[in-house]
Protein backbone atom coordinates (compact mmCIF):
# COMPACT_ATOMS: atom_id res chain seq x y z
CA UNK A 1 0.00 0.00 0.00
CA UNK A 2 1.26 3.48 -0.83
CA UNK A 3 2.47 5.93 1.79
CA UNK A 4 1.77 9.60 2.38
CA UNK A 5 4.69 12.06 2.33
CA UNK A 6 4.73 12.08 6.15
CA UNK A 7 4.69 8.28 6.33
CA UNK A 8 7.65 8.05 3.94
CA UNK A 9 9.75 10.40 6.06
CA UNK A 10 8.82 8.49 9.22
CA UNK A 11 9.57 5.10 7.62
CA UNK A 12 13.02 6.32 6.53
CA UNK A 13 13.78 7.59 10.05
CA UNK A 14 12.58 4.34 11.64
CA UNK A 15 14.76 2.27 9.29
CA UNK A 16 11.69 0.57 7.83
CA UNK A 17 10.71 -0.18 4.22
CA UNK A 18 7.19 0.97 4.89
CA UNK A 19 4.87 2.03 7.69
CA UNK A 20 1.08 2.19 7.97
CA UNK A 21 -1.27 4.53 9.80
CA UNK A 22 -1.66 3.54 13.45
CA UNK A 23 1.69 1.72 13.64
CA UNK A 24 3.90 2.58 16.62
CA UNK A 25 7.49 3.24 15.61
CA UNK A 26 10.70 4.63 17.06
CA UNK A 27 12.21 7.21 14.73
CA UNK A 28 15.62 8.90 14.67
CA UNK A 29 15.57 12.66 15.14
CA UNK A 30 17.42 15.29 13.08
CA UNK A 31 16.58 18.32 15.22
CA UNK A 32 15.39 18.51 18.85
CA UNK A 33 14.43 22.03 19.97
CA UNK A 34 13.20 23.63 23.18
CA UNK A 35 12.59 27.20 24.37
CA UNK A 36 12.84 29.11 27.64
CA UNK A 37 9.53 27.69 28.96
CA UNK A 38 9.92 24.04 28.04
CA UNK A 39 13.74 23.77 28.02
CA UNK A 40 14.50 24.50 31.70
CA UNK A 41 11.83 22.00 32.78
CA UNK A 42 13.43 19.36 30.49
CA UNK A 43 16.96 19.64 31.88
CA UNK A 44 16.50 17.65 35.11
CA UNK A 45 14.70 14.98 33.05
CA UNK A 46 17.50 14.77 30.46
CA UNK A 47 19.98 14.34 33.30
CA UNK A 48 18.07 11.28 34.56
CA UNK A 49 18.84 9.61 31.22
CA UNK A 50 22.21 10.93 30.11
CA UNK A 51 25.09 13.23 31.06
CA UNK A 52 25.37 14.35 27.46
CA UNK A 53 22.93 15.25 24.71
CA UNK A 54 22.88 12.67 21.89
CA UNK A 55 24.39 15.08 19.34
CA UNK A 56 25.59 18.62 20.01
CA UNK A 57 24.71 19.67 16.44
CA UNK A 58 21.11 18.50 16.69
CA UNK A 59 19.93 19.81 20.06
CA UNK A 60 18.78 23.43 19.88
CA UNK A 61 17.66 26.00 22.46
CA UNK A 62 15.86 29.26 21.64
CA UNK A 63 15.02 31.57 24.56
CA UNK A 64 12.18 33.54 22.95
CA UNK A 65 8.98 33.36 25.00
CA UNK A 66 9.63 35.51 28.07
CA UNK A 67 12.69 37.24 26.58
CA UNK A 68 14.10 39.84 26.97
CA UNK A 69 13.35 38.41 30.40
CA UNK A 70 10.28 39.89 32.00
CA UNK A 71 10.98 38.88 35.59
CA UNK A 72 13.46 37.11 37.84
CA UNK A 73 11.98 33.62 37.44
CA UNK A 74 12.11 33.89 33.64
CA UNK A 75 15.67 35.14 33.85
CA UNK A 76 16.63 32.12 35.98
CA UNK A 77 15.01 29.82 33.39
CA UNK A 78 16.88 31.43 30.48
CA UNK A 79 20.10 31.23 32.49
CA UNK A 80 19.60 27.50 33.03
CA UNK A 81 19.38 26.70 29.31
CA UNK A 82 22.15 29.18 28.44
CA UNK A 83 24.54 27.48 30.87
CA UNK A 84 23.49 24.00 29.76
CA UNK A 85 24.04 24.90 26.08
CA UNK A 86 27.51 26.18 26.95
CA UNK A 87 28.38 23.16 29.11
CA UNK A 88 27.25 20.76 26.37
CA UNK A 89 29.00 22.76 23.61
CA UNK A 90 25.83 23.02 21.53
CA UNK A 91 26.25 24.40 18.01
CA UNK A 92 22.82 26.02 18.01
CA UNK A 93 21.98 28.25 20.94
CA UNK A 94 20.07 31.33 19.81
CA UNK A 95 20.69 34.24 22.16
CA UNK A 96 18.56 37.40 22.18
CA UNK A 97 19.95 40.06 19.88
CA UNK A 98 21.34 37.42 17.56
CA UNK A 99 18.24 35.44 16.70
CA UNK A 100 14.48 35.69 17.13
CA UNK A 101 11.31 33.66 17.48
CA UNK A 102 12.08 29.92 17.29
CA UNK A 103 9.97 28.97 14.28
CA UNK A 104 11.26 31.91 12.26
CA UNK A 105 14.93 31.58 13.20
CA UNK A 106 15.34 27.82 12.65
CA UNK A 107 14.46 27.92 8.92
CA UNK A 108 16.26 31.27 8.47
CA UNK A 109 19.49 30.00 10.06
CA UNK A 110 19.32 26.76 8.09
CA UNK A 111 18.91 24.51 11.14
CA UNK A 112 15.97 22.65 9.58
CA UNK A 113 15.67 21.23 6.07
CA UNK A 114 13.48 19.10 3.80
CA UNK A 115 13.06 15.41 4.57
CA UNK A 116 14.04 15.72 8.24
CA UNK A 117 12.33 14.35 11.33
CA UNK A 118 12.07 17.23 13.81
CA UNK A 119 10.56 17.62 17.26
CA UNK A 120 10.23 20.79 19.26
CA UNK A 121 8.85 21.40 22.73
CA UNK A 122 6.47 23.97 21.34
CA UNK A 123 3.21 23.14 19.62
CA UNK A 124 3.96 25.34 16.59
CA UNK A 125 6.98 23.23 15.66
CA UNK A 126 4.77 21.98 12.81
CA UNK A 127 5.88 25.17 10.98
CA UNK A 128 8.84 23.41 9.32
CA UNK A 129 6.45 21.22 7.33
CA UNK A 130 6.54 24.16 4.90
CA UNK A 131 10.02 22.95 3.93
CA UNK A 132 8.89 19.37 3.29
CA UNK A 133 10.02 18.06 6.69
CA UNK A 134 8.12 15.96 9.24
CA UNK A 135 7.96 18.28 12.21
CA UNK A 136 5.79 18.13 15.30
CA UNK A 137 5.36 19.62 18.75
CA UNK A 138 5.87 17.56 21.89
CA UNK A 139 5.98 18.14 25.64
CA UNK A 140 8.83 18.30 28.09
CA UNK A 141 9.36 14.60 28.84
CA UNK A 142 9.32 13.76 25.13
CA UNK A 143 11.80 16.53 24.31
CA UNK A 144 14.07 15.46 27.16
CA UNK A 145 14.05 11.89 25.85
CA UNK A 146 14.80 13.17 22.34
CA UNK A 147 17.73 15.24 23.65
CA UNK A 148 19.20 12.29 25.55
CA UNK A 149 18.53 9.47 23.08
CA UNK A 150 18.11 11.01 19.61
CA UNK A 151 14.98 9.02 18.97
CA UNK A 152 11.36 8.98 20.04
CA UNK A 153 8.22 6.88 19.66
CA UNK A 154 5.52 8.00 17.26
CA UNK A 155 2.16 6.69 16.21
CA UNK A 156 2.20 6.86 12.41
CA UNK A 157 -0.56 9.31 11.45
CA UNK A 158 -3.15 8.92 8.75
CA UNK A 159 -3.68 12.02 6.62
CA UNK A 160 -6.13 14.43 5.10
CA UNK A 161 -5.18 15.66 1.63
CA UNK A 162 -5.83 19.34 0.88
CA UNK A 163 -5.83 19.97 -2.85
CA UNK A 164 -5.14 23.66 -3.42
CA UNK A 165 -5.94 25.11 -6.84
CA UNK A 166 -6.11 28.60 -8.31
CA UNK A 167 -4.51 31.86 -7.32
CA UNK A 168 -5.39 33.81 -4.17
CA UNK A 169 -6.68 37.38 -4.58
CA UNK A 170 -4.44 40.40 -3.86
CA UNK A 171 -5.34 40.66 -0.14
CA UNK A 172 -5.53 36.93 0.56
CA UNK A 173 -2.54 35.32 2.27
CA UNK A 174 -1.56 32.00 3.81
CA UNK A 175 -3.22 33.23 7.03
CA UNK A 176 -6.60 33.70 5.37
CA UNK A 177 -6.32 30.30 3.69
CA UNK A 178 -5.45 28.41 6.87
CA UNK A 179 -8.17 30.15 8.93
CA UNK A 180 -10.59 29.32 6.10
CA UNK A 181 -9.48 25.66 6.24
CA UNK A 182 -9.71 25.41 10.05
CA UNK A 183 -13.13 27.04 9.85
CA UNK A 184 -14.16 24.35 7.37
CA UNK A 185 -12.81 21.27 9.20
CA UNK A 186 -12.93 22.50 12.82
CA UNK A 187 -10.31 22.83 15.55
CA UNK A 188 -10.18 19.04 15.89
CA UNK A 189 -10.82 18.36 12.21
CA UNK A 190 -7.35 16.87 11.71
CA UNK A 191 -6.91 15.42 15.22
CA UNK A 192 -3.93 13.01 15.34
CA UNK A 193 -3.55 13.32 11.53
CA UNK A 194 -1.24 14.88 8.96
CA UNK A 195 -2.48 17.76 6.84
CA UNK A 196 -0.83 17.20 3.47
CA UNK A 197 -1.10 20.15 1.11
CA UNK A 198 -0.87 19.42 -2.62
CA UNK A 199 -2.06 20.91 -5.90
CA UNK A 200 -0.99 23.47 -8.48
CA UNK A 201 -2.24 26.35 -6.32
CA UNK A 202 0.83 25.89 -4.09
CA UNK A 203 3.01 27.46 -6.80
CA UNK A 204 1.11 30.70 -6.06
CA UNK A 205 2.05 30.64 -2.36
CA UNK A 206 5.26 32.26 -1.09
CA UNK A 207 7.43 30.36 1.38
CA UNK A 208 6.17 32.78 4.04
CA UNK A 209 2.55 31.85 3.16
CA UNK A 210 3.48 28.18 3.54
CA UNK A 211 5.21 28.73 6.90
CA UNK A 212 2.05 30.46 8.15
CA UNK A 213 -0.18 27.61 6.99
CA UNK A 214 2.01 24.77 8.31
CA UNK A 215 2.38 26.74 11.58
CA UNK A 216 -1.36 26.61 12.23
CA UNK A 217 -1.87 22.91 11.39
CA UNK A 218 -1.88 22.31 15.17
CA UNK A 219 -4.92 24.61 15.44
CA UNK A 220 -6.87 21.95 13.54
CA UNK A 221 -5.49 19.34 15.97
CA UNK A 222 -3.03 17.97 13.39
CA UNK A 223 0.16 16.13 14.23
CA UNK A 224 1.89 17.91 11.35
CA UNK A 225 1.24 19.94 8.24
CA UNK A 226 3.42 19.35 5.20
CA UNK A 227 4.02 20.88 1.77
CA UNK A 228 5.67 19.23 -1.24
CA UNK A 229 9.15 20.47 -2.14
CA UNK A 230 9.05 22.59 -5.31
CA UNK A 231 11.44 25.02 -7.02
CA UNK A 232 10.58 27.74 -4.53
CA UNK A 233 11.36 25.45 -1.58
CA UNK A 234 14.68 24.38 -3.11
CA UNK A 235 15.61 28.02 -3.75
CA UNK A 236 14.83 28.83 -0.11
CA UNK A 237 16.85 25.85 1.14
CA UNK A 238 19.85 26.70 -1.06
CA UNK A 239 19.80 30.28 0.25
CA UNK A 240 19.49 29.30 3.91
CA UNK A 241 21.04 25.94 4.74
CA UNK A 242 24.29 24.12 4.22
CA UNK A 243 22.64 20.85 5.21
CA UNK A 244 22.14 18.00 2.78
CA UNK A 245 18.44 17.56 2.42
CA UNK A 246 16.20 14.92 0.96
CA UNK A 247 13.03 15.37 -1.04
CA UNK A 248 10.14 13.01 -0.34
CA UNK A 249 6.81 12.86 -2.06
CA UNK A 250 3.64 10.90 -1.41
CA UNK A 251 3.06 7.69 -3.37
CA UNK A 252 0.42 7.91 -6.08
CA UNK A 253 -1.63 5.26 -4.30
CA UNK A 254 -1.24 6.75 -0.82
CA UNK A 255 -4.35 6.39 1.33
CA UNK A 256 -6.08 9.47 2.76
CA UNK A 257 -8.90 9.65 5.31
CA UNK A 258 -10.37 12.54 3.42
CA UNK A 259 -9.69 14.87 0.48
CA UNK A 260 -10.58 18.56 0.80
CA UNK A 261 -10.47 20.80 -2.28
CA UNK A 262 -9.85 24.51 -1.90
CA UNK A 263 -10.00 26.96 -4.80
CA UNK A 264 -7.67 29.69 -3.56
CA UNK A 265 -9.29 32.27 -5.84
CA UNK A 266 -12.48 31.91 -3.81
CA UNK A 267 -10.89 32.45 -0.38
CA UNK A 268 -11.64 35.89 1.08
CA UNK A 269 -9.73 37.81 3.78
CA UNK A 270 -10.80 35.77 6.80
CA UNK A 271 -10.74 36.45 10.55
CA UNK A 272 -11.04 33.95 13.42
CA UNK A 273 -13.37 35.30 16.12
CA UNK A 274 -13.03 34.55 19.84
CA UNK A 275 -12.39 31.98 21.26
CA UNK A 276 -11.36 29.42 18.64
CA UNK A 277 -9.08 29.59 15.58
CA UNK A 278 -11.82 27.77 13.67
CA UNK A 279 -14.44 30.44 14.35
CA UNK A 280 -13.90 31.88 10.88
CA UNK A 281 -15.74 34.84 9.36
CA UNK A 282 -14.99 36.41 5.99
CA UNK A 283 -14.37 40.14 5.74
CA UNK A 284 -17.65 40.41 3.83
CA UNK A 285 -19.57 38.84 6.72
CA UNK A 286 -17.78 41.19 9.12
CA UNK A 287 -18.65 44.26 7.04
CA UNK A 288 -22.31 43.28 7.30
CA UNK A 289 -22.10 43.30 11.13
CA UNK A 290 -22.02 46.20 13.59
CA UNK A 291 -18.47 47.59 13.73
CA UNK A 292 -16.12 45.74 16.09
CA UNK A 293 -14.09 48.49 17.76
CA UNK A 294 -10.64 47.44 18.93
CA UNK A 295 -8.00 48.55 21.44
CA UNK A 296 -4.86 46.78 20.25
CA UNK A 297 -3.22 45.30 17.17
CA UNK A 298 -0.30 42.86 17.18
CA UNK A 299 1.61 42.20 13.96
CA UNK A 300 4.26 39.53 14.40
CA UNK A 301 4.84 36.05 15.92
CA UNK A 302 5.94 32.66 14.56
CA UNK A 303 2.81 32.76 12.42
CA UNK A 304 3.15 36.18 10.77
CA UNK A 305 6.38 37.92 11.77
CA UNK A 306 8.31 37.29 8.55
CA UNK A 307 9.49 39.84 6.00
CA UNK A 308 6.57 39.32 3.62
CA UNK A 309 4.20 39.95 6.54
CA UNK A 310 6.06 43.13 7.48
CA UNK A 311 5.99 44.38 3.87
CA UNK A 312 2.27 43.69 3.54
CA UNK A 313 1.44 45.46 6.80
CA UNK A 314 3.65 48.43 5.86
CA UNK A 315 2.07 48.72 2.41
CA UNK A 316 -1.31 49.21 4.08
CA UNK A 317 -0.05 51.57 6.81
CA UNK A 318 2.06 53.77 4.52
CA UNK A 319 0.84 57.36 4.63
CA UNK A 320 -1.78 56.56 7.29
CA UNK A 321 -1.89 56.94 11.04
CA UNK A 322 -3.07 54.47 13.63
CA UNK A 323 -6.54 55.24 15.03
CA UNK A 324 -6.29 57.34 18.24
CA UNK A 325 -7.95 54.63 20.38
CA UNK A 326 -5.67 51.83 19.16
CA UNK A 327 -2.14 50.82 20.16
CA UNK A 328 -0.12 48.73 17.74
CA UNK A 329 2.78 46.39 18.42
CA UNK A 330 4.84 45.37 15.38
CA UNK A 331 7.25 42.55 16.22
CA UNK A 332 9.62 41.40 13.47
CA UNK A 333 10.28 37.73 14.17
CA UNK A 334 14.08 37.78 13.81
CA UNK A 335 16.94 40.28 13.89
CA UNK A 336 17.53 39.74 10.18
CA UNK A 337 13.89 40.58 9.42
CA UNK A 338 14.16 43.61 11.72
CA UNK A 339 17.21 44.84 9.78
CA UNK A 340 15.42 44.26 6.48
CA UNK A 341 12.53 46.34 7.82
CA UNK A 342 14.95 49.16 8.60
CA UNK A 343 16.75 48.89 5.25
CA UNK A 344 13.48 48.89 3.28
CA UNK A 345 12.06 51.85 5.21
CA UNK A 346 9.31 49.76 6.80
CA UNK A 347 10.26 50.74 10.35
CA UNK A 348 9.87 54.42 9.37
CA UNK A 349 6.40 53.65 8.00
CA UNK A 350 5.42 51.81 11.20
CA UNK A 351 6.76 54.48 13.55
CA UNK A 352 5.39 57.37 11.49
CA UNK A 353 1.98 55.68 11.60
CA UNK A 354 2.20 55.43 15.40
CA UNK A 355 3.18 51.79 15.95
CA UNK A 356 5.56 50.47 18.59
CA UNK A 357 8.24 48.35 16.89
CA UNK A 358 9.46 45.77 19.39
CA UNK A 359 12.42 43.42 19.57
CA UNK A 360 11.83 39.83 18.38
CA UNK A 361 9.94 37.85 21.06
CA UNK A 362 6.85 35.67 21.44
CA UNK A 363 5.82 38.26 24.08
CA UNK A 364 2.23 39.33 23.47
CA UNK A 365 1.04 36.15 21.67
CA UNK A 366 0.54 34.18 24.87
CA UNK A 367 0.06 37.12 27.21
CA UNK A 368 3.68 36.91 28.32
CA UNK A 369 4.70 40.54 28.14
CA UNK A 370 4.95 43.52 25.75
CA UNK A 371 1.24 43.72 24.96
CA UNK A 372 -0.88 42.08 27.68
CA UNK A 373 -4.56 43.06 27.60
CA UNK A 374 -6.91 44.38 30.30
CA UNK A 375 -10.51 43.28 30.94
CA UNK A 376 -12.89 44.03 28.09
CA UNK A 377 -10.19 44.94 25.58
CA UNK A 378 -10.20 43.65 22.01
CA UNK A 379 -7.19 42.88 19.83
CA UNK A 380 -6.71 42.08 16.18
CA UNK A 381 -3.66 39.86 16.15
CA UNK A 382 -1.66 38.06 13.47
CA UNK A 383 -0.83 35.35 16.01
CA UNK A 384 -2.28 31.84 16.08
CA UNK A 385 -4.56 31.41 19.11
CA UNK A 386 -7.55 33.33 20.38
CA UNK A 387 -8.33 31.19 23.43
CA UNK A 388 -9.89 32.65 26.59
CA UNK A 389 -7.24 34.71 28.41
CA UNK A 390 -4.52 33.89 25.89
CA UNK A 391 -3.27 37.49 25.62
CA UNK A 392 -4.16 38.66 29.10
CA UNK A 393 -7.37 39.12 31.07
CA UNK A 394 -10.00 36.36 30.70
CA UNK A 395 -12.46 39.01 29.57
CA UNK A 396 -10.23 40.26 26.73
CA UNK A 397 -11.00 39.20 23.15
CA UNK A 398 -8.68 38.18 20.31
CA UNK A 399 -9.48 38.26 16.60
CA UNK A 400 -6.91 36.38 14.49
CA UNK A 401 -6.16 37.90 11.11
CA UNK A 402 -3.60 38.47 8.37
CA UNK A 403 -1.07 41.33 8.57
CA UNK A 404 -3.10 43.27 6.00
CA UNK A 405 -6.39 42.96 7.89
CA UNK A 406 -4.53 43.83 11.11
CA UNK A 407 -2.97 46.93 9.53
CA UNK A 408 -6.26 48.07 8.00
CA UNK A 409 -7.94 47.56 11.38
CA UNK A 410 -5.22 49.58 13.14
CA UNK A 411 -6.03 52.55 10.91
CA UNK A 412 -9.82 52.21 11.12
CA UNK A 413 -9.99 51.42 14.84
CA UNK A 414 -12.31 48.52 14.07
CA UNK A 415 -11.92 45.26 12.16
CA UNK A 416 -11.55 46.50 8.61
CA UNK A 417 -11.20 45.34 5.04
CA UNK A 418 -7.70 45.95 3.60
CA UNK A 419 -9.25 46.24 0.14
CA UNK A 420 -10.89 49.50 1.20
CA UNK A 421 -8.15 51.32 3.08
CA UNK A 422 -8.01 54.13 0.53
CA UNK A 423 -11.79 54.60 0.68
CA UNK A 424 -12.17 56.83 3.70
Amino acid sequence: MGMTMTQKILAAHAGLESVAAGQLIEAKLDVVMANDITGPMALPIVKQMSDKVFDKDKVVFVPDHFTPNKDIKSAENSKAIREYAKEQGLSWYFEQGKSGVEHAILPEAGVVAAGECIIGADSHTCTYGALGAFSTGVGTTDIATGMAMGELWFKVPSAIKFVLTGKPGPYVTGKDIIIHIIGKIGVDGALYKSMEFVGDGIANLTMDDRFTMANMAIEAGAKNGIFPVDDRTEKYLKEHTKKEYKVYSADEDAQYDDVVRIDLSEVRPTVAFPHLPGNAKTIDEIEAMDPIWIDQVVIGSCTNGRITDMRKAAAILKGHTVHPDVRVMVVPATQKIYKQCIAEGLVDIFIDAGCAVNTPSCGPCMGGHMGVMAAGEKCVSTTNRNFVGRMGHVESLIYLASPEVAAASAIAGRIANPEKVGDR
Partner: protein, 162 residues
Protein backbone atom coordinates in the same frame (compact mmCIF):
# COMPACT_ATOMS: atom_id res chain seq x y z
CA UNK B 1 -5.27 0.40 40.17
CA UNK B 2 -8.53 2.21 40.90
CA UNK B 3 -9.66 5.81 41.18
CA UNK B 4 -12.66 7.20 43.06
CA UNK B 5 -13.88 10.76 43.27
CA UNK B 6 -16.31 13.45 42.27
CA UNK B 7 -16.50 14.92 38.81
CA UNK B 8 -15.69 18.37 37.46
CA UNK B 9 -17.40 18.60 34.07
CA UNK B 10 -16.30 20.76 31.13
CA UNK B 11 -17.24 21.08 27.45
CA UNK B 12 -15.40 20.92 24.12
CA UNK B 13 -11.90 22.22 23.36
CA UNK B 14 -10.67 22.87 26.91
CA UNK B 15 -7.30 24.38 25.95
CA UNK B 16 -4.00 24.42 27.78
CA UNK B 17 -4.19 28.22 28.15
CA UNK B 18 -7.18 27.84 30.47
CA UNK B 19 -5.78 24.74 32.21
CA UNK B 20 -2.64 26.72 33.14
CA UNK B 21 -2.32 30.24 31.69
CA UNK B 22 1.06 31.30 30.28
CA UNK B 23 1.41 34.01 32.92
CA UNK B 24 2.24 31.23 35.41
CA UNK B 25 4.74 29.44 33.16
CA UNK B 26 7.76 31.26 34.53
CA UNK B 27 7.75 28.41 37.06
CA UNK B 28 7.72 24.65 36.62
CA UNK B 29 7.28 23.92 40.32
CA UNK B 30 4.43 21.39 40.39
CA UNK B 31 2.81 22.71 43.59
CA UNK B 32 2.88 26.29 42.40
CA UNK B 33 1.40 25.33 39.02
CA UNK B 34 -1.29 23.26 40.78
CA UNK B 35 -2.36 26.32 42.78
CA UNK B 36 -3.44 27.95 39.47
CA UNK B 37 -4.99 24.90 37.76
CA UNK B 38 -8.05 25.67 35.58
CA UNK B 39 -8.13 29.26 36.88
CA UNK B 40 -9.28 30.87 33.63
CA UNK B 41 -12.18 28.46 33.06
CA UNK B 42 -13.15 27.62 36.65
CA UNK B 43 -11.67 29.91 39.33
CA UNK B 44 -13.21 27.73 42.09
CA UNK B 45 -11.54 24.53 40.87
CA UNK B 46 -8.50 24.65 43.14
CA UNK B 47 -10.64 25.55 46.16
CA UNK B 48 -13.00 22.62 45.61
CA UNK B 49 -10.86 19.81 44.17
CA UNK B 50 -10.20 16.85 46.48
CA UNK B 51 -7.58 14.14 45.97
CA UNK B 52 -9.06 11.49 43.67
CA UNK B 53 -11.51 13.80 41.90
CA UNK B 54 -11.96 13.43 38.16
CA UNK B 55 -12.35 15.73 35.18
CA UNK B 56 -14.82 14.74 32.49
CA UNK B 57 -14.96 16.72 29.24
CA UNK B 58 -16.13 16.47 25.68
CA UNK B 59 -14.06 16.79 22.49
CA UNK B 60 -10.39 17.78 22.04
CA UNK B 61 -9.41 18.16 25.72
CA UNK B 62 -6.00 19.81 26.15
CA UNK B 63 -5.80 21.46 22.75
CA UNK B 64 -3.30 24.23 22.15
CA UNK B 65 0.17 24.58 23.54
CA UNK B 66 2.64 21.75 24.22
CA UNK B 67 3.10 22.81 27.86
CA UNK B 68 3.52 19.70 30.00
CA UNK B 69 2.72 22.06 32.87
CA UNK B 70 -0.97 21.37 31.98
CA UNK B 71 -1.25 17.66 32.85
CA UNK B 72 1.30 18.19 35.63
CA UNK B 73 -0.78 20.87 37.37
CA UNK B 74 -3.92 18.69 37.18
CA UNK B 75 -2.14 15.63 38.56
CA UNK B 76 -0.57 17.65 41.37
CA UNK B 77 -3.92 19.28 42.19
CA UNK B 78 -5.20 15.77 42.96
CA UNK B 79 -6.99 14.83 39.74
CA UNK B 80 -6.94 11.03 39.47
CA UNK B 81 -8.10 10.74 35.87
CA UNK B 82 -9.37 12.79 32.93
CA UNK B 83 -12.12 11.21 30.83
CA UNK B 84 -12.94 12.84 27.49
CA UNK B 85 -14.57 12.13 24.20
CA UNK B 86 -11.19 12.86 22.55
CA UNK B 87 -7.87 14.40 23.61
CA UNK B 88 -5.55 16.74 21.71
CA UNK B 89 -2.50 14.70 20.73
CA UNK B 90 0.26 16.57 22.59
CA UNK B 91 -1.75 16.58 25.83
CA UNK B 92 -2.39 12.85 25.36
CA UNK B 93 1.35 12.09 25.08
CA UNK B 94 2.26 14.44 27.93
CA UNK B 95 -0.32 12.89 30.26
CA UNK B 96 0.99 9.38 29.64
CA UNK B 97 4.58 10.55 30.00
CA UNK B 98 4.01 12.10 33.44
CA UNK B 99 1.60 9.42 34.66
CA UNK B 100 -1.75 11.24 34.65
CA UNK B 101 -4.32 8.58 33.71
CA UNK B 102 -6.57 9.58 30.81
CA UNK B 103 -9.38 7.65 29.17
CA UNK B 104 -11.09 8.26 25.84
CA UNK B 105 -14.75 7.32 26.20
CA UNK B 106 -17.44 9.32 24.35
CA UNK B 107 -20.28 7.47 26.13
CA UNK B 108 -18.91 8.27 29.58
CA UNK B 109 -18.29 11.89 28.56
CA UNK B 110 -22.00 12.14 27.73
CA UNK B 111 -23.31 10.03 30.61
CA UNK B 112 -21.48 11.69 33.50
CA UNK B 113 -22.47 15.03 35.02
CA UNK B 114 -20.74 17.50 37.31
CA UNK B 115 -20.69 16.27 40.90
CA UNK B 116 -21.31 12.60 40.06
CA UNK B 117 -19.30 10.10 42.07
CA UNK B 118 -17.30 7.98 39.64
CA UNK B 119 -15.05 4.97 40.13
CA UNK B 120 -12.56 3.66 37.57
CA UNK B 121 -10.87 0.28 37.32
CA UNK B 122 -7.81 1.03 35.21
CA UNK B 123 -7.00 -2.64 34.61
CA UNK B 124 -10.30 -3.34 32.89
CA UNK B 125 -10.94 0.21 31.63
CA UNK B 126 -14.39 0.11 33.29
CA UNK B 127 -15.92 3.39 34.46
CA UNK B 128 -18.70 3.20 37.10
CA UNK B 129 -20.98 6.17 37.68
CA UNK B 130 -22.00 5.44 41.28
CA UNK B 131 -24.41 8.37 41.43
CA UNK B 132 -26.42 7.21 38.43
CA UNK B 133 -25.71 3.48 38.67
CA UNK B 134 -24.36 3.32 35.11
CA UNK B 135 -21.25 1.70 33.68
CA UNK B 136 -19.02 2.48 30.67
CA UNK B 137 -16.16 0.71 28.95
CA UNK B 138 -13.20 3.00 28.22
CA UNK B 139 -10.80 2.40 25.34
CA UNK B 140 -7.85 0.29 26.49
CA UNK B 141 -4.38 1.71 25.79
CA UNK B 142 -2.41 0.10 22.96
CA UNK B 143 0.10 -2.48 24.21
CA UNK B 144 3.12 -0.18 23.75
CA UNK B 145 1.55 2.52 25.91
CA UNK B 146 0.63 -0.05 28.55
CA UNK B 147 4.32 -0.94 28.68
CA UNK B 148 5.21 2.74 29.07
CA UNK B 149 2.70 3.16 31.88
CA UNK B 150 3.76 -0.09 33.58
CA UNK B 151 7.41 1.05 33.46
CA UNK B 152 6.40 4.23 35.30
CA UNK B 153 6.57 6.67 32.40
CA UNK B 154 8.81 7.41 29.43
CA UNK B 155 12.00 8.20 31.37
CA UNK B 156 11.96 4.91 33.28
CA UNK B 157 10.99 3.01 30.14
CA UNK B 158 13.90 4.61 28.24
CA UNK B 159 16.37 3.83 31.03
CA UNK B 160 15.13 0.21 31.22
CA UNK B 161 16.03 -0.28 27.54
CA UNK B 162 19.68 0.76 27.97
Amino acid sequence: MRALGHVFKYGDNVDTDVIIPARYLNSFDAQELASHAMVDIDPDFVKKVQPGDLIVANKNFGCGSSREHAPLCLKTAGVSCVIAETFARIFYRNAINIGLPIIECPEAAKGIDAGDEVEIDFDSGKIYNRTKGTEFQGQPFPEFMQKLIAAGGLVKYTNSKK
